[in-house]
Symmetry: C2
Subunit: 189 residues, 2 copies
DNA sequence: ATCCCATGCGTACAATCGTACACAACGATG
DNA sequence: CATCGTTGTGTACGATTGTACGCATGGGAT
């Protein structure tokens, strides 16, 4: 009863916008594309999100939340006894070989935030949250930030070069940067 | 013999295209904007670069070359006696506080390459070259790639969040990942 | 029952874009 | 000198875009 207006509609548009970004990138985001994906008329998207920036921010906020939820889910389920570097490297490999698009999305956000002032806080929040969650698995916050940086950089390399993901090398690098010598033999050539 | 006329023309257009990307981002790259920046008529840009992709690739190739030249210049001039982690952290700080736009450009290339197939080799070459050059300062190639990843990730954090650059923390993280214990006290909080 | 207004919808408009094309200028070749 | 092909230029066209606006509708409030 109560809702004088229909919040479902708005959420469906956001979902559709996220889907559009997923498939065509931020450059492909537009009122019409979103309207088609959400199966609503054009006027509906312009009504709920008057400007394109509003739509983009809403879409990226959604994508961001989904990603952070996934990371949090993994962090809470990880075996605290196993060496964190190994677990992290294995999880990263699963993400990279499994849902590659999902990872690209995160960088889509970063990219947009470089130019779009309004997106900067969102990207910053994502990086901070990642570090905060990963801090569970390691000595201190500064290390967690470095780990996030290393993960981001390595992911970028896998996504951009066609080099396959090197799980052992990643694990060794993570172990070194975490200051734990769990299993850092000679880095794999 | 040859060209009395204009190899200059083409290069000037490329320079202008790079300038446009510098100022407005890849999204702002267009025949007209480049023509205006190069002070040539519209037809001139479409003549030398029929499609927009050609123009974009040329611009990013130029940007890429400039960046790699700068890195190479630094690597060749670095003091081989000093601890590499410190030198690297200091240089990175100079880049970040000095010419921030220059660094953003590199990520503009990376992110564009995520969506644009034709740019992938360029981005991959950049990452490989970076690792190859930095390999001078460290034990092996795998470590160099990890260092490149860490640098990329840390740079991203500085560019996206408004956290100031932490030179000592970076130096410590670099030292740890390079396996050298030059000056890695407790990581700065 | 009647009125009001938030919400939804369809269309239209101005601007911008990439690209194509017709023509001008000029150097090289016979 | 005549001719031709390369280079340079201006304009135009079709497509697509963000956004605005007029109108329909349906449920609360009176």
């Amino acid at each position: 009863m109560g809702r004088r207006y229909d919040p479902e509609r708005r959420q469906r548009i956001i979902d559709a916008a996220a889907a559009v970004v997923r498939e065509r990138g931020i450059g492909g985001l537009g009122h019409r594309a979103v309207a088609a994906a959400a199966d609503v008329p054009l006027g509906s998207t312009t009504y709920h999100f008057a400007t394109l920036d509003d739509l983009m921010i809403a879409a990226l906020r959604q994508i961001n939340a989904e990603w952070l939820a996934e990371v949090e889910h993994w962090v809470e389920g990880v075996d605290p006894a196993a060496p964190p570097a190994d677990e992290l490297a294995r999880w990263l490999g699963e993400q990279l070989t499994g849902d590659r698009v999902r990872m690209e999305l995160e960088y889509e956000l970063y990219f947009a935030a470089l130019r779009h002032e309004g997106l900067r806080p969102l990207a910053a929040e994502c990086l901070d949250e990642m570090a905060r969650m990963l801090a569970r698995l390691m000595p201190d916050a500064a290390t967690a930030r470095a780990v996030v940086a290393l993960i981001d950089g390595l992911t970028l390399q896998v996504l951009l070069a066609d080099r396959p993901y090197d799980r052992e090398g990643t694990s060794a690098a993570l172990a070194r940067i975490m200051g734990v010598d769990g299993d850092n033999g000679p880095p794999a050539g």
